[in-house]
């Protein structure tokens, strides 16, 4: 399933947040979106997922979700959004309970996603017992359980320390490699963007406009933490971002 966004504009009260966004999310690919903080990245993601309505413009789903998809647009949140009163397993089961699935199917889905995210041994742990990285794994497992058409990720690794971030990034790449999924990956971290993105969109400071789109041909599985091929992209992106970031920073001070 592809998603096409046409002439999208969005404002809160009178202040414009997103301006004239046109893009297409391609099936089986990861789209990274970067931009300075406050430029409307989270807002764009909420619009794509239908949590909010755009002021103008169209967001269309082209094609139908994959077979067995329970929730087409599925979020992974920066702060994990796990229910603290449910164990790891119950947190995953939450998103299956509203669907009329037999207990065996539910069981096998839960086992499968916990296995894929290496959480088997933590099924009965409560979120407070888990590290940040583990919590985000649970959130990823929960998202995979509904077999989503598009994964919408809002800075999923920003709350983690850099080592954990790298580990999760590797796990994430493996997950994608074993079973490619469609995803929008929002980040303000350039290296994450170039590691994961088939395509990378750069948003300007508020109101967010697309100021650059780049594609990276190198297969995601072959990209490394230290990777000469990625460096040139990262440098290029940083040159564009630098001025935007500086201006955005100064803007906040003027408020």
């Amino acid at each position: 399933m592809n998603i096409k966004i046409k002439n999208l504009n969005h404002s809160y009260d009178k202040s414009k947040v997103l301006s004239d966004i046109n893009l297409e999310i391609m099936d089986g690919q990861i789209l990274s979106i970067i931009g300075p903080s406050g430029c409307g990245k989270s807002t764009l993601l909420r619009l794509i997922g239908g949590l909010e309505k755009p002021c103008s413009g169209e967001i269309t789903q082209i094609g139908s979700p994959p077979a067995g998809c329970l929730n087409a647009m599925t979020y992974i949140f920066q702060d994990f959004a796990l229910l603290p009163w449910r164990t790891v397993e119950e947190n995953v089961s939450l998103v299956l309970e509203d669907h009329s699935l037999s207990n065996e199917i539910k069981r096998s889905v839960i086992d499968d996603v916990l296995d894929r995210t290496k959480l088997k041994d933590f099924s009965y742990a409560f979120p407070k017992q888990l590290s940040g990285g583990m919590k985000q794994r649970v959130a990823i497992a929960r998202a995979l359980a509904v077999n989503p058409a598009v994964l919408l990720m809002d800075e999923p690794l920003s709350a983690l320390d850099s080592q954990t971030r790298e580990l999760l990034l590797e796990d994430f790449i493996n997950l994608w490699h074993r079973k490619p999924f469609t995803a929008v990956y929002i980040t303000h971290n350039l290296s994450e963007a170039v590691r994961l993105g088939h395509k990378i969109l750069v948003l300007s400071r508020r109101p967010g406009k697309i100021i650059e789109t780049i594609s990276i041909e190198k297969p995601i599985a072959d990209r490394k933490l230290i990777d000469k091929d990625l460096d040139q992209y990262q440098k290029h992106l940083w040159n564009i971002m630098h001025d935007e970031a500086r201006a955005a920073d100064a803007e906040l001070l003027n408020v």
Binding site: Y75, A81, L83, V95, D98, P127
Partner: protein
């Protein structure tokens, strides 16, 4: 190091070894449960000593040992349960009505803006009324029997429960609700699996207050037209100026209060074990 004598020395005098002083003391609440028993023991011991030596006149305070004896007699004669059972029944029924209504209405206020706008002013108007003042009214409405007692306790536990509940519902993490919506959970599921469990800590601390108020109102209600009940027992003892029995009644009440508080703590430990 700021010694005058040392001033000529290099301030990095490596011969001076001093442990870093610990300055992070205090301001960390810890539970020392024995301290509570100890204070109780001291108070009772001092009273016993004072009353038996005559320093405290028997007209001011009864001897703690006499009070204990009265309670034992009360127990042996079977009168204790004759008073305690109707009291506990009134407390349980009245509080159950008030608390379940309170949680329901509080949740509605928390979830629906129409309920909120309509009911919050009403609750704010009822909250500060001392409910005891309404007892005569309830006697007219519900009769001198059990009805007026249930009503008084129910109303008394209702208001704090409502306020605690809608506050707790308001404070449920919005990102969790967003998460539920984004996974397409039904409204009912979001309320039962996210909002209510998330509000539980707040609701339970409201429960503590509601139950304490219920005990106060129980005694007040029983002082009016009840044959049996802790309140009736205390009132009778008071009018006869029988200090031993008065204090026996008060002791039973305070034990009842402690029991209720332990009950809520156990409930919290069971329901909130995820914290």
């Amino acid at each position: 190091m700021y010694d005058i004598k040392n001033k000529s020395n290099n301030s990095n005098n490596l011969n001076v070894n001093k442990p870093v002083p610990f300055i992070g003391k205090g301001f960390q609440p810890k539970t020392r449960s024995w301290m509570g028993y100890f204070v109780f023991f001291i108070i009772i011991f001092v009273l016993e000593l004072g009353t038996s030596t005559g320093v405290i006149s028997s007209l001011t305070l009864p001897k703690p040992s006499d009070v204990l004896e009265t309670i034992i007699q009360l127990f042996q004669s079977g009168l204790l349960f004759k008073h305690l059972v109707p009291s506990i029944l009134r407390l349980v029924i009245g509080a159950l009505i008030g608390i379940s209504l309170g949680i329901s209405i509080g949740t509605l206020i928390g979830l629906f803006s129409y309920f909120r706008s309509g009911l919050v002013p009403v609750i704010a108007a009822i909250f500060p009324i001392p409910k005891i003042a309404l007892l005569p009214l309830f006697v007219i409405w519900f009769g001198i029997g059990e009805g007026s007692k249930y009503a008084l306790i129910a109303l008394g536990s209702f208001t704090p429960t409502v306020v605690a509940t809608y506050g707790a519902v308001d404070n449920v993490d919005r990102t969790l609700i967003r998460m539920g919506q984004s996974f397409g959970l039904s409204w009912i599921s979001i309320v039962y699996k996210i909002v209510l469990p998330g509000a539980m800590p707040g609701i339970l601390s409201g429960l503590r207050i509601s139950l304490a108020i219920s005990i106060i109102l129980l005694v007040a209600a029983e002082m009016l037209g009840a044959e049996y009940g802790i309140g009736a027992y205390i009132l009778e003892a008071g009018s006869l100026y029988d200090l031993e029995r008065l204090f026996a009644g008060v002791t039973i009440l305070s034990l009842l209060g402690i029991t209720v508080s332990v009950f809520v703590t156990k409930l919290e430990q069971k329901i909130l074990k995820w914290r």
